[in-house]
């Protein structure tokens, strides 16, 4: 049967030597759904993202990205994913527009300067920074260019790895708006984070990952901020 999910992980496990990084992880994302994968450092969030991107091969289980098998055909899967790493490292010698053009070209899209400027503005980067080299950019500015790069790829799945880490409140809020806008356009978003406030702000569903296991999964709307924090701490303590 053909999967209708934007992302579908089934019983995925990954170990490094004797250390189990991800254990029997199963989750699905529908188109337009924003899923927050919560967990402390070392919980397996980045390993999960690396497996979805095909940078790592799972020991067991299957990963489908819009019907493309990320295990057997990682390139096809990656073509359907826009990815924003925790720290967006741009080419410091290139301007924001040039960086966007470069990564868009890699993604198979030739974009003109006007389109690049539009995408950068949509991602929240101030206009006067568009023609500046990225070497002097703050983390928030780099993150915004990263968002523009992700948008330029026009993928149906957006992977965000700790996207608000190190961002100020304003930049984090800009990012929330971008995520909401993407969701409204039917783009599924998987966000690995430990920013509980942001999760409550933008996610439709959340899962708590602890020591490689998905220990809880909820609708974000069904739980308040205080309860979420208590639940998170309880699950980690268990």
């Amino acid at each position: 049967m053909v999967s209708t999910f934007a992302l579908e992980l089934t019983s995925v496990s990954k170990s490094f030597d004797s250390h189990a990084a991800v254990i029997d992880l199963t989750l699905q994302l529908a188109p337009g759904e924003v899923y927050a994968l919560l967990g402390p450092n070392g919980a397996g969030k980045t390993t999960t993202i690396n497996m979805i991107l095909g940078f790592l091969k799972p020991d067991r289980g299957s990963i489908l990205v819009n019907q493309a098998d990320a295990v057997t055909d990682p390139l096809a899967a990656r073509a359907r994913i826009a990815y924003l790493p925790e720290t967006v490292m741009l080419h410091p010698a290139l301007t924001a527009v040039e960086n966007l053009s470069y990564f868009a070209l890699l993604a198979g899209h030739r974009i003109d300067v006007a389109t690049a400027r539009h995408l950068l503005t949509e991602a929240g980067l101030q206009e006067q920074a568009h023609a500046r080299r990225a070497e002097g950019f703050s983390k928030g500015m780099r993150q915004k260019v990263g968002v523009a790069i992700a948008l330029a790829k026009q993928a149906r799945l957006l992977l965000l790895d700790e996207p608000t880490s190190g961002l100020d409140a304003s930049a984090a809020n800009d990012l929330s708006q971008v995520i909401r806008a993407a969701s409204e356009r039917g783009i599924a978003v998987l966000m690995a984070t430990h920013d509980l406030f942001r999760v409550k702000d933008v996610a439709h569903r959340l899962g708590i990952l602890h020591a490689g296991r998905l220990v809880d999964e909820r609708d974000a709307a069904s739980i308040g901020p205080v309860e979420l924090e208590r639940l998170y701490l309880d699950r980690l303590a268990a």
Binding site: L75, R78, M89, A93, L94, F103, L106, A107
Partner: protein, 465 residues
């Protein structure tokens, strides 16, 4: 798409001060080296032409005398600088530029440019080819490190891999950008300058144009394989520091260690006899003064050649005997010097074969061959000058033998005969005629190019952030 990517990669290189200025510095050195060698060669060639004209006037104006004495009066032959000698002088600085052509002797060539060379030229690092072959790898590896290893270290490669539809396109664009930058600054300007220089000097013809294109192809192929190796190594090493160490090690191995080891190996495995022993062998087998027994033997041979029983019946016995010993010396020179030159060629061929160990060796041997400045081209001049000498001496002796002269009688001649001897006008061989010695180097260069492409493709298949 790939073209636009390469342009952006070139922009990154251009804006990276360390990489770009290093490349620019080497490019300027290459151009300065060319101008220094080309202007010196032009000055020396001008002097050679003037002296050659004076030599001709001296030859024609030597006055009335015995033709064999004229053969001893002799003439200097000058070797013009190879057209591409300023790109790659190769053996040029170490071999002579002129040879004294006289009866009975095949003389060594005189006046090695190395005797007047600057310190930089004497240590062998002052020609465009030597600079590109020796320092090209260092600069190309630095460029590859800047574009690939630093991208990985910074984390930019992770973002690129997440975005790329075909990850291989990332590294191929980077390798091509390094190749274009290196070729565009190290090879193209000096080749264009060389063509312009030759055109202004009236030396540019189809063969020289073809040689220049082939020289560019050799250097561009060399830089291409280095770009691929540099990108692949930067991609496979665990971190940037290891990549830099590995690339620096490869440069030392390819350009400094292996050429010296190869040269030492060839010298010790196929040693050359000393020039003194070669000269001594020639003197023993073709002496300037013959013993009484030899003279008796020569006279018997002359009687047989002329079909007479008395030496008085030979029209010009002195000249006939001189002709006899002259022709004997030709056989000796062919045998002794020919053997020596064959050993030098064997050494060159083995050095070219060792190009399979290091692309720098392959590039050096191939470059010298297409530039027409390797030993096989020098040998072509030696043979040409020697043939001219033999023709001159034979013509003088023939004139003497055609006229009766006995005892203290001497047949003499004058400008009418001297001017019949054509001027020495050396024509370098066309491309390809003398390339067989360097053929293994061309094969090695192609093998390295293929290997580098395979290594790059394999490395790009296993790309990790």
């Amino acid at each position: 798409m790939t073209g636009s990517l390469i342009l952006l990669e070139l922009a990154i290189l251009h804006r990276d001060r360390r990489a770009w200025w290093s490349l620019l510095a080497l490019a300027v050195l290459v151009l300065l080296a060319f101008v220094a060698i080309a202007s010196e060669a032009a000055r020396v060639d001008h002097d050679k032409r003037q002296v050659a004209a004076a030599e001709r006037a001296r030859w024609v104006g030597q006055g009335e005398k015995d033709p064999h004495s004229a053969a001893h009066y002799s003439i200097f032959a000058f070797k013009p600088s190879p057209a591409l000698g300023a790109l790659d002088p190769a053996a040029g600085p170490f071999v002579g530029q002129t040879v004294y052509l006289e009866a009975h002797h095949q003389n060594d060539m005189l006046y090695r440019p190395q005797q007047n060379a600057s310190l930089l030229q004497r240590i062998g690092f002052a020609s465009p080819a030597a600079l590109i072959a020796g320092f090209g790898p260092l600069i190309v590896f630095l460029l590859a490190f800047t574009l690939v290893a630093q991208d990985r270290e910074r984390g930019t490669m992770r973002l690129a891999l997440g975005a790329a539809l075909r990850p291989r396109a990332i590294v191929i664009a980077k390798a091509l950008a390094v190749w274009f930058a290196a070729s565009g600054l190290l090879v193209a300007p000096v080749a264009i300058l060389s063509l312009g220089w030759l055109a202004m000097g009236g030396r540019l013809d189809g063969d020289i144009l073809l040689r220049t294109l082939c020289w560019c192809a050799v250097m561009v192929a060399y830089l291409a394989l280095l770009s691929a190796i540099g990108a692949a190594a930067s991609l496979r090493m665990r971190n940037a520091r290891l990549a830099l160490t590995a690339l620096f090690g490869l440069w030392i191995l390819f350009s400094l260690a292996l050429p010296r080891i190869a040269s030492g190996f060839v010298d010790s495995t196929w040693p050359l006899p000393s020039s003194q022993s070669v000269r001594q062998q020639m003197t023993e087998e073709a002496p300037a003064f013959w013993s009484d027994e030899d003279n008796v033997r020569h006279r018997a041979m002359l009687l047989e050649r002329y079909g007479v029983s008395r030496i008085e019946d030979v029209p010009n016995p002195r000249m006939a005997e001189l002709d006899l010993v002259e022709r004997h010396s030709h056989e000796v020179f062919d045998h002794v010097l020919g053997g020596f030159y064959a050993k030098v060629a064997a050494q060159d061929r083995m050095f070219a074969v060792l190009g399979f160990l290091s692309p720098t060796i392959a590039a050096q041997a191939a470059s010298a061959s297409v530039a027409g400045s390797d030993f096989s081209h020098h040998r072509h001049f030696i043979d040409d000058a020697e043939q001219y000498r033999r023709d001159l001496v034979n013509r003088m002796n023939a004139d003497g033998m055609a006229h009766r002269a006995h005892g203290t009688e001497r047949h003499t001649n004058d400008e009418r005969l001297w001017s019949q001897v054509p001027e020495f006008d050396y024509q370098a061989p066309p491309l390809g005629r003398l390339s067989w010695t360097a053929l293994p180097a061309f094969a090695a260069l192609l093998a390295w190019l293929g290997l580098a492409a395979i290594v790059l493709v394999l490395a790009s298949r296993r790309m990790r952030p």
